[in-house]
């Protein structure tokens, strides 16, 4: 009797277990499986140990893609987080302006990712694109299909346009959650607007900004669809980010190296997310004497 009751609890855990197994554990283990074998066909495979990993870690093109990726994610964080906070601070606090600005902010987030790439291709075309024609009209040569710097600028602009609203929305939610009494108390203390921002608003936004930094880091580190549609990774390899390179590898049927690469990729994201989380947890507790 007692044994039956114990077993019943297992049935309750089973759906979750199945779900996690199918969605995460089995695919991940498949990748692990590929990463340590050289597969020629079904039933025809040899165990290669860490060979693919060593290959990948010494691969020049992967190194280039990795540094490109860090530069890109670093710039994304440096631009989007302060810009998002500034937008949130400038947004109206009450009245009809609130809904208007919220809807306007949310618009880029609602557009499918590859559509965004397409929009920006057209937007920046030097012959018919609004932005492309405008910049060339000002006397600058601008063509993201031939100049690497132009391609970078275009991808950054697109990314900032697409995702800063998310940071702004998060920061705005954080700001609105601060009780009015804090600002009253600051006025009674005679605090300057900068002091209010530095000692009340910023510490109170720590939680949402942690989430914003983590989300923006992970998403930008995984970016694929928009630059792939916009530049295809070019010109040359100048906008080939990690995931674009990974897809090039795996569609070339280099499954083993691609699998090893995937695992390295996964571990990098895990490591950096953890580092950011730890660092941001301690921000604001650093003022202790």
């Amino acid at each position: 009797m007692g044994k039956w009751e114990d077993n019943k609890a297992w049935f309750l855990v089973l759906p979750v277990f199945l779900l996690v197994a199918i969605s995460a554990i089995i695919p991940l283990m498949t990748v692990v499986n590929y990463s340590v074998q050289d597969i020629f066909g079904p039933g025809d495979r040899i165990f290669v140990g860490t060979e693919w990993f060593e290959d990948m870690l010494s691969n020049r093109r992967l190194h280039d893609a990795l540094w490109r990726q860090f530069l890109f994610s670093g710039l994304v964080l440096l631009i989007e987080i302060p810009l998002g906070v500034l937008i949130a601070l400038a947004m109206p606090k009450r009245g009809w302006g609130v809904s208007v600005s919220l809807v306007l902010l949310a618009l880029p987030l609602l557009i499918p990712w590859n559509v965004i790439g397409t929009i920006w291709i057209i937007f920046t075309r030097p012959d018919i694109g609004l932005l492309g024609v405008a910049i060339n009209g000002l006397g600058f040569e601008f063509d993201h299909t031939s100049a690497p710097l132009d391609a970078w600028i275009t991808v950054m602009l697109m990314e900032v346009w697409h995702w800063t609203p998310l940071v702004a929305l998060l920061a705005y939610a954080g700001l609105r959650a601060i009780p009015e009494a804090y600002f009253q108390a600051a006025r009674i203390d005679g605090a300057s607007p900068w002091a209010v921002f530095r000692y009340i608003q910023l510490p109170k936004m720590r939680g949402v900004l942690t989430i914003a930094v983590l989300l923006r880091f992970m998403d930008s580190f995984l970016i694929y669809a928009e630059p792939f549609v916009l530049t295809g990774g070019g010109p040359g390899n100048s906008t080939t980010f990690l995931s674009i390179y990974l897809v090039k590898l795996s569609t070339a049927m280099d499954v083993g190296p691609a699998a090893a690469f995937s695992i390295i990729y996964f571990l990098i994201i895990l490591l950096f997310s953890w580092l950011f989380y730890q660092a941001l947890q301690n921000v604001g507790t650093g003022d202790r004497q």
Binding site: P179, A181, Q184, G190, Y199, P203, G284, D287
Partner: protein, 366 residues
Amino acid sequence: MTLVLEQVGKVMGGETHLADVSLELRPGSLNLLLGPTLSGKTSLMRLMAGLDRPSTGRLLLDGRDVTGLSVRKRSVAMVYQQFINYPSFTVYDNIASPLRRSGLDRAEIDRKVRAAAESLKIEPLLDRLPDELSGGQQQRTALARALVKEAELLLLDEPLVNLDYKLREELRAELQEIFRKGRSIVVYATTEPLEALMLGGSTAVLDQGRVLQNGPTIEVYHRPTSERVGQVFSDPPMNMIEGEVVDREARLGPVIRVPLSGHLGRLAPGRYRFGVRANHLFVARRNPDQVEIEATAELAEISGSETFIHAAHSGTSWVVQEEGVHSLGLGEEIRVFVEPRHIFVFDQDGGLVEAPEGATPSLAAQ
């Protein structure tokens, strides 16, 4: 320093928040603002602090007009119902923050911070951050921050309302002691009649942006000048019933007959509204003078050592506050007893006609 409010009013967005408020606040006094939520307590405090400018009327500080003077140029400290501290400062730095701008030297600041922390019993917590404190400790820090400033005007907006019962009792007792020692004008807003009675001082009863009555707390409690004050300054609100005085007796509703003894003896024949506080109603007869009321029990709310019995009597609803735990069935017939000497009498417009005797100010103050 004496703060005088002269017919102060505040209209915001077409809505009247305050109308015609006149008060005089003396140094070293404890002034309570008692009123339900949205009665204008916070609006009034904001005007006193100089956070808002009144739409009408004047504020005088020792006879000097300070109506338009900004909050920065006034000597004000304020404590809120939320626990407001700088989140990234330690308790020590939080308490010191109002002093840092005053140009005092380090040793003096240190002495004052430690004295304030000692009086609020948070000395061992000086190195902690607000997030690492319990609610009670956070509010103690906020109080210390306000006290250390030694401001001429100390405003407390329902400071204890977010604390649990035990802490509230403890901190209230300590606050009374601190208020007694200080020379500031203390203004303390509360919605709870019981809290007002415990704190003493003087009370201004606010309702819908107007001061209904202002005077020593105990006097306002015993002689509410209007039915509305009686309602606000009773928890649960005073039980009211329509009635009339004819043939040397008071008829409360269709059934209850009360002999005109004591203060009721001075009533002229006519229609009145009669009021009895819940704690003056009993479910058992205590003495032969008590008048019996037949009622139907509707609900018994047990709150700790007391029970609030809601009962219906010929179309009116009564609340009886009784010691101990009583469980009553719904619809059970009960008898409620009231003594004539506890009955308040208001006229048809809600103005006080007679208040129970023995509740005169001189007697009550003893």
